[in-house]
Amino acid sequence: MLDELRELYQEVILDHGKNPRNFRDVEDATSQAHGSNPLCGDQLVVYVKVGDDDIIQDVSFVGKGCAISMASASMMTELVRGKTIDGANHMFDHVHHMCTGEGEDVDVTEFGEDADRIGVLSGVREFPVRVKCATLAWHTLKAAMEGKEEASSEA
């Protein structure tokens, strides 16, 4: 029992869950979106600042949620900063496929060392009811990049 749980709650997830990085707003954000999981009431706002060169210069979030959703959001902010919008979208596709088994498998070589860091979220596949916790922040980021104001885990 504990082994499976340690697969889900890896040290890095517990760390990010307790001490989320970039947990703040971005005053000069170019876009932001609100994400919610109506099933559990979890809410967060993701802020992004994208430069003229399509590169994500800053990204942050604020909100309330479980350890999985907070850790996923925190790790996401670290992973996508400095990426182009296209690069962040690729990462979204990868996370989505990894957590849900849906969509196209993504060639992870382009993520380099980041691939392992994203990989710690894969434990949710054994916990179907927790998949949405892991993907909520990513859906919200995607909504923000597409200029949408709302994202839902039910979308």
Partner: protein, 418 residues
């Protein structure tokens, strides 16, 4: 019922929980490789073989549409369906079977009252009183009616223990109050409200009262005449019956005066192109083919709990409540929300700052099923300043050992997030 399904009665008054557990096939199925510890009956209870068999019996032996065919099979089905109504009448001690309306669930029962009694009897400026510990199903229909009709909706606050604040309620009551809609037992906190007193005070100002008994009928004997409730609603699936069937009890004079809820077959006396006239109670409120097998299944569930005895179920669950409260209180960092002196066997709690969903995932691996989240009672969560809680709710089949299993699983959760 003619399938011979009955509960074997104890020769003594000892509550033989192991015997009752054997009536519930799912309780012997493992969960995540562990024995299932099911502590979520407040969301939906498990079903005894007697209910499952009764529904199977209908489909295998006596199924046809009700109130329609002139042939024997349809008459048998109708007898069984109406027999279930009589069982519910006895269960609630209603004066007449025609005061028992079968609906889809408690939510539909409340919406029925809002859309018939509410629309017909209330006018702009009239007031409806609810409480802050209502389930969303006893908030949202009244908000919708308020917005449509220009009504005023007030909510009686609760104390830090989760008790209904009677003095605040008395201040809200006036000649403008037309309806009071209050839970008989809170799903999120377990609080049993002083329903008879609430009814009496409402009647003193001429208001009618709807009691939401979804969480009450499962834990204790309920007598709608003793309560003097005008409307009393509950759902079947929390009472060990099937989903898809609920009950609206209403006093005959009120139901008679109310317009129909939905139009269709079964609810009419006569139809011409110009106009239709309505069937007598209860058919006036049961448009279309009803939930036949589900109603019969609910009848079997009522038989089942009645055979055990609601008094004995209450005594058993109160013992579990006391024991589990002590056991959980010993878990470091655990805080129970809802500590009213009179409460049902429902324990809502937080554990440090661990999110309820994380707790739920961890204890699930130990085979323990609890509800996590806002429990469709966001006003309660706001009142206590939490996004959600973990909730353990106990039914007639739960044991002290299961409370131990929960407490041990919570210790594991603490280790993880400690």
């Amino acid at each position: 019922m003619s399938d011979g399904a009955t509960v074997t009665k104890d020769s003594t008054d000892i509550y033989d929980v192991e015997r009752y557990r054997r009536d519930f096939p799912i309780l012997s199925k493992p969960m995540n490789g562990k024995p299932l510890v099911f502590l979520d009956s407040a969301a939906s209870a498990q079903k005894p073989r007697q209910v499952i068999d009764a529904m199977r019996y209908v489909y295998e032996n006596e199924y046809a549409n009700v109130h329609r065919g002139a042939y024997a099979l349809s008459a048998d089905t109708t007898t069984a369906y109406e027999g279930a109504r009589t069982k519910v009448r006895d269960f609630l001690n209603a004066a007449h079977s025609r005061e028992i309306i079968f609906t889809k669930n408690a939510t539909e029962s409340i919406n029925l009252v809002a859309n018939t009694f509410g629309r017909d009897s209330l006018k702009a400026g009239d007031e409806i009183i609810i409480s802050t510990m209502e389930h969303h199903s006893n908030i949202v229909p009244w908000q919708m009616l308020r917005d449509q009709m220009g009504l005023v909706l007030k909510a009686v606050p609760i104390t830090d223990d989760g008790e209904f604040m009677m003095a605040e309620y008395e201040k809200m009551l006036s000649s403008k109050t037309k309806l009071v809609a209050i839970t008989h037992t809170s799903n999120a906190l377990g609080t049993v409200t002083p329903a008879a007193e609430i009814v009496e005070k409402a009647h003193a100002v001429g208001a009618k009262v709807l009691l939401d008994g979804s969480q009450a009928v499962v834990h204790m004997p309920v007598d709608v005449q003793a309560l003097d409730a005008d409307f009393y609603v509950f759902t079947g699936h929390k009472l060990y019956g099937p989903s898809g069937v609920g009950v609206l009890y209403g006093k005959e004079t009120l139901l008679d005066a109310m317009p129909p809820f939905m139009g269709g077959g079964e609810m009419i006396a006569q139809v011409t192109l110009e106009k239709s006239t309505w069937a007598a109670l209860p058919n006036k409120f049961e448009a279309g083919t009803p939930m036949i097998a589900q109603a019969i299944g609910l009848g079997a569930a009522v038989d089942y709990v009645t055979e055990i005895g609601m008094d004995r179920i209450r005594a058993h669950e109160q013992d579990l409540l006391t024991y589990a409260t002590q056991r959980l209180s010993a878990v470091e960092g655990l805080k129970i929300l809802g500590t009213a002196p009179v409460k049902a066997a429902v324990i809502s709690f937080t554990l440090g700052d661990i999110h309820p969903h994380d707790i739920s995932s961890i204890i699930d691996r130990a085979g323990v099923a609890c509800r996590a989240g806002h429990h469709c009672a966001q006003l309660v969560m706001d009142r206590f300043g939490v996004v959600g809680t973990t909730r353990a709710s106990f039914g007639l089949y739960n044991t002290r050992a299961e409370a131990d299993a929960l407490a041990e699983a919570l210790e594991t959760a603490r280790e993880f997030f400690g």
